[in-house]
């Protein structure tokens, strides 16, 4: 069935490697099936005399009944208070096979993606997307949805990122997860995630995209709760899933509106028809705002960002792949994919930019005071996603996607580096039986002596994210901020009004927020590096002896990502830094997809900064980044830090930041508790128990029983009674006749 696809006749990509694009998600799916079957086999069955039982029961904090039949399958593997702590060391019997299948299917996908990329480059200019239709999925009246994939420059770019970074993270996971009993299950989920992610970016219509969209949400849920026997992890998974449902509601509404007004959901059809909307009209604005609600859920923007920091409960490679590099950028991709719609709706675009900017600053302030190394990175991800939304919000779709690419490199590197640190800390604690928190920076310090590779690579990523030239983050961040600044002067956005405020004022405010977030980014990233790698070591005398660099399967991917983080900016060099035709490579590449829409926002002109304005913009960005790093270096004193156990409680505003502005608590009070109260008091006790159970189910039974009782009482068996009734009846009838 899959092979019977019809291809647009005459498309130049037909017959090239691109014709195999259906294989891209199918390969990881195959890996999922194989690893999933392996995961059904328990890691190892421990007998009653097995010494590991003691460890298992001990790890479970001696929970009653846990030691009786430790299956060590998946139930016994998560006992620590934190996700990565103290899991039982049980290597799965078929770990070797899973090691082979998991990364290899990804590498094969990546190889195919590269072949497709080369085929596309060989074509030169390609204006029309390459659409492959496989079968009719939902034929229902006017609604004709095909299972179809589409390849264009935008999806090609995403495919390369997903399979490329995905392969590296799979290889890293081989080392990181090696001693976990759920090893094949981990790779099964990871493969499934990549399969769905590829469906998301390859889908040729909104519904196919939505399949991938929901699929990655499912895999995210499964992987956040990977160590599900710890309730906190399972809760974090549920939180992510439920918060995402709110966003998905928005995306669904946007899809309904699109179909109701355009009669099609294909990207090709929608893009062609979207320009017929009234420019800046209420309809297209509504569609875009609902769509942005979906993006805010998936990409963790205010007000739906709260799930992402909790998602760090999952294993660290998951945080790197799903919650930094790929899935959370799906919202940015969706906006770039729907750029025709957004460029028609300046008010919605301004909303995107404002939400992005506020999120960038807000998350950055929280990142300043987190102690958990992964939480710092989580808020940093939220903040950087905000940057991407600023980019796509102001109609600089290329800049937003460029930051997506560079962020995928340096944030994956940061997360994997933190994974490497946690792995070392955890291994050291495991040796000495220490139960301290292996993710708390107060327990680290001075790690550069023990892990030089990780130290150097993470500094590269830190400089990249802070925006220090010539590392990748500088170019993408500078392009976003520059785009905002230029569009504040002359664009459809500047002419529009947002909540009564002139668009150009809003954009200048967005620019200011972006600069402030850049400053904070530099500060908190430097703070993380100083506390983790510099100063004296605080992990303990015994533990120090066991701190070592992670194996090559883990450092290898780090090195590759380090190189990419350093030179990733070359993808889209501005003209002043370009050499030999390398100027704006990504911009030219994406031009067929988003070019027209960018021009629509900028009133048909390519915004060019005058020489001194450009110098000012770049100078401000670099100065802010350097200032941030200097503030952190001067102000922070790693030497004064004490381990977590001896740390005093934070006071004042620091406390507010550490507790994340109490947003979770506020949501609890405002949303969760009323919902639970309503559900419990009205829906459960009232409707379900009272009305349905009480009145309808038991009530009808009571009625039948009552009627039966009356009948049974009447049928006394006494002939005399019957005669009485008969006579009374006769008299009544006669009486009725007489009276009439």
């Amino acid at each position: 069935m899959l092979l019977q696809h019809e291809v647009l006749p005459g498309h130049p990509l037909a017959g090239t490697a691109a014709a195999w694009m259906w294989l891209l998600p199918l390969l990881p799916l195959l890996g999922f099936v194989i690893n999933g079957l392996l995961s059904l086999i328990p890691a190892t069955v421990l007998g009653p005399s097995d010494p590991d039982i003691a460890h298992g029961a001990d790890g479970a904090h001696g929970e009653a009944g846990h030691g009786e039949h430790v299956h060590a399958l998946d139930t016994a593997d998560a006992h620590g208070a934190h996700g990565d702590d103290h899991h039982v060391v049980v290597r799965h019997r078929f770990a070797g096979l899973a090691t082979f299948v998991g990364p290899v299917v990804l590498a094969a996908s990546f190889a195919l993606a590269v072949a497709m990329f080369l085929a596309m480059r060989g074509l030169g200019e390609m204006r029309e997307p390459f659409v492959q239709t496989y079968f009719s999925w939902m034929p229902a009246g006017a609604l004709q949805i095909n299972a179809a994939f589409q390849l264009d420059q935008l999806s090609m770019m995403m495919v390369l990122i997903i399979t490329g970074v995905g392969t590296l993270i799979h290889i890293f996971s081989v080392g990181y997860m090696q001693d976990d009993p759920g090893y094949p299950r981990f790779f099964a989920y990871l493969n499934l995630f990549v399969a769905f992610m590829l469906v998301l970016v390859l889908g040729a219509s909104y519904p196919v995209l939505f399949v991938g969209w929901e699929g990655v949400g499912l895999c995210s849920y499964l992987l956040i709760g990977f160590w599900f026997s710890d309730k906190a992890n399972a809760d974090a998974g549920k939180k992510a899933f439920i918060v995402n449902r709110i966003g998905d509601f928005g995306l669904l509404i946007a899809m309904f509106l699109l179909f109701a007004n355009l009669g099609t959901l294909d990207f090709v059809g929608v893009n062609a028809a979207a320009t017929k909307f009234a420019f800046g009209g209420a309809l297209v604005t509504t569609i875009c705002l609902f769509m942005f609600l979906g993006c805010a859920g998936k990409s963790a923007q205010i007000p739906l960002y709260i799930w992402l920091p909790d998602a760090m409960a999952g294993p660290t490679p998951v945080s790197a792949l799903i919650h930094a590099a790929t899935m959370v950028t799906a919202g940015v991709y969706l906006i770039a994919r729907s750029s025709t719609l957004f460029s028609m709706a300046p008010v919605a675009s301004l909303t995107v930019a404002v939400v992005g900017a506020v999120t960038a600053l807000f998350a950055a302030t929280i990142g300043l005071k987190q102690w958990d190394i992964k939480k710092v990175l989580a808020y940093s991800t939220v903040s950087q996603l905000g940057y991407m939304f600023v980019g796509v919000g102001v109609g600089a779709y290329t800049a937003g996607m460029f930051h997506l690419v560079t962020h995928a490199f340096f944030k994956a590197l940061l997360f994997l580096g933190s994974g490497s640190v946690i792995f070392a800390m955890h291994a050291a604690y495991h040796h000495t039986g220490n139960h301290d928190d292996a993710q708390d920076m107060r327990n680290m310090g001075g790690l550069r002596a023990f892990m030089p590779w990780t130290w150097i690579l993470m500094w590269i990523a830190t400089l990249a994210i802070s925006g220090i030239p010539p590392f990748s983050g500088f170019f993408s961040k500078d392009e976003i901020l520059g785009s905002v600044f230029l569009r504040a002067r002359e664009s459809t956005l500047a002419d529009a009004h947002w909540l009564g405020i002139p668009g150009s004022a809003v954009l200048y405010a967005v620019y200011a927020l972006g600069l402030a977030a850049a400053l904070l980014t530099a500060i908190y990233m430097t703070r993380m590096m100083l506390y983790t790698f510099h100063g004296p070591n605080r992990s303990g005398e015994e533990e120090r002896k066991h701190l070592v660099e992670a194996p090559w399967t883990m450092t290898g991917p780090l090195v590759i990502l380090g190189v990419l983080s350093a030179i990733g900016g070359w993808l889209n060099l501005p003209h002043f830094a370009a050499f030999a035709g390398s100027e704006e490579m990504l911009g030219h590449w994406l031009e067929p997809v988003v070019g027209d829409n960018q021009l629509r926002v900028t009133l048909g002109r390519i915004p060019e900064a005058a020489g001194n304005t450009e110098t000012f913009l770049i100078g401000a960005a670099v100065a802010i980044a350097i200032l941030g790093i200097l503030i952190a270096v001067v102000r922070l004193k790693p030497a004064r830090l004490v381990p977590k156990a001896q740390s005093p409680e934070e006071q004042g505003f620091e406390r507010v930041l550490l507790d994340k502005y109490y947003v979770d608590e506020a949501y609890d009070r405002v949303v969760v508790e009323p919902t639970v109260g309503l559900s419990r008091g009205v829906l459960w006790k009232g409707i379900d128990q009272g009305l349905i159970d009480g009145v309808l189910v038991n009530g009808s039974a009571k009625l039948a029983r009552g009627l039966g009782g009356v009948g049974s009482w009447l049928q006394s068996g006494q002939v005399g009674t019957y005669a009485w009734v008969l006579v009374v009846g006769v008299l009544a009838v006669l009486g009725a006749f007489t009276i009439r």
Partner: protein, 97 residues
């Protein structure tokens, strides 16, 4: 003349009904039922004097059926008495499900 005959038969019928309703003894109830039958017979006869002989024919039929019924009814009462050692209808409620 007709009015008196109808009044008399109504009184007889009512006595029969009251007897059926208030008494417990099956024999007495049976006799009261006969009383009601004969009250009706009396009505028939009274009307036949006024409107023609068809009523008389009904009386003959009714008396025949009543005789047959009396035979069957008494037989049932005897069978009941043999079974239950009583003809008090309060103790005979086997109709109750």
């Amino acid at each position: 003349m007709l009015a008196e005959a109808l009044f008399f038969s109504a009184v007889l019928f009512t006595i029969g009904v009251i007897g059926v309703l208030t008494r417990r003894n099956a024999i007495i109830i049976f006799m009261c039922v006969e009383l009601m039958l004969n009250a009706v017979n009396l009505t028939f006869v009274a009307f036949s004097r006024a409107y023609g002989a068809a009523g008389q024919i009904f009386v003959f039929f009714a008396m025949t059926v009543a005789a047959a019924e009396a035979a069957v009814g008494l037989a049932i009462i005897i069978a009941l008495f043999r079974h239950k050692q009583t003809v008090n209808l309060q103790h005979i409620n086997i109709l109750k499900g």
